[in-house]
Amino acid sequence: MNDPLKQLSEDTPRQRFVLAETGFNEVPKKYRKFYRRWQGSGDTLALNEVLCPVCRVVIRSSREIRPGDRVYCMPCMSRLVVIRSATGHLEARVAY
């Protein structure tokens, strides 16, 4: 049976984001805006962000991130797929 809330969420157009520099300096300059440092347990992820499980850097996108999306973590060179965890949060899993 289809979940109407999930259906609504998937049908809603994705929000777009303008990315600015965050001070992250571990990748080439043109890619730096796609990453930021994770500030620890007090930090929160925006709709266009997900945490890399390999190196704990925050990965950012110019559009809202949803389950099934593929993202790249350049600092540790990982390819990741976004899933929704049992707790309802978005998580990135390494796609070897």
């Binding site: 990748v27 080439p28 890619y31 996108s61 540790c76 990982s78 070897y96």
Partner: protein
């Protein structure tokens, strides 16, 4: 549109992404961001904090073992180039060799700055036995041309240990040592990521190698943990105050599907 405009990196094809991140070009532009203007790993105007004799001795002991760890990594990474399965991996490993050589150089320089006149003798005096045994085991694996076992030992086990220890030490270190360690940790992200991803791809294609690597893991784990414990106790860092220590390594091996 600005010259360096990138609409969204996440739209790259997987092979295009891998080719980019394994290149020397990527490495040059990455390290420029955090090493430029930092000769020997720290800003020239960072002020030396006075250390007590005990603090200085502890720091020297830790740095001596870091030098051994970096030498192991330097020898390991350079040996791996000959047995790397493709040219992209060889190029990436060449960048890692440059990183490891730099780490060794800045750590030796730090020892000299702390008043150590003969670093080679000092390193020998403080060498952790388990780390030396690990060095011997890694050398055997590389000389045996065992790519999977070597990359597991070097870029997963050793790099994860160094990453955790350096990150923890940086939190309590004097300003110069902290800057040096933070720069090294940024390099280690690439090394760890390369190891996990390369091994993950191989395990997905040839799952039968997992059992062999698990046996290797069980034999190397005690050496790594002993080195880990010893280094932290030398620094006066209690594991109970840092419960997250070692978690990164455990999470990595779990993602790769190794039983604990």
């Amino acid at each position: 549109m600005p010259e360096n405009h990138v609409s969204d990196i996440h739209g790259l094809e997987p092979q295009e992404f891998l080719s980019q991140v394994h290149s020397f070009e990527f490495w040059f532009e990455s390290v420029e961001g955090y090493l430029s203007g930092r000769p020997y790993g720290h800003q020239p105007d960072t002020v030396e904090t006075p250390l007590s004799d005990l603090e200085r001795d502890r720091l020297i002991t830790a740095l001596c073992n870091y030098c051994i760890g970096e030498t192991v990594a330097l020898e390991g990474a350079s040996g791996l180039i000959a047995i790397a399965p493709n040219r992209e991996a060889k190029i990436f490993l060449a960048t890692q060799v440059a990183d490891e050589g730099r780490h060794l150089e800045v750590l030796l320089r730090r020892l000299t700055d702390l008043g150590v006149t003969d670093p080679e003798t000092e390193i020998e005096k403080h060498a952790n036995r388990s780390l030396l045994t690990f060095r011997h085991r890694l050398r055997e694996l590389v000389e045996g041309r065992d790519w999977e076992a070597s990359i597991f030992a070097q870029n997963v086990i050793l790099e994860a240990m160094e990453f955790s220890v350096f990150q923890t030490h940086a939190e309590v270190a004097d300003p110069i040592t902290r800057e040096i360690l933070e720069g090294i940790v940024k390099d280690e992200r690439r090394h760890m990521g390369f190891g996990e991803n390369d091994l993950g791809r191989r395990l997905a294609l040839t799952p039968h190698i997992r059992d062999r690597l698990n046996v290797l893991r069980r034999s190397l784990d005690p050496l790594v943990l002993e080195t880990f414990e010893d280094t932290l106790s030398q620094l006066g860092i209690s594991r109970s105050e840092h419960p997250g220590l070692g978690r990164r390594y455990l999470e990595t091996v779990e993602r790769l599907g190794f039983a604990s």
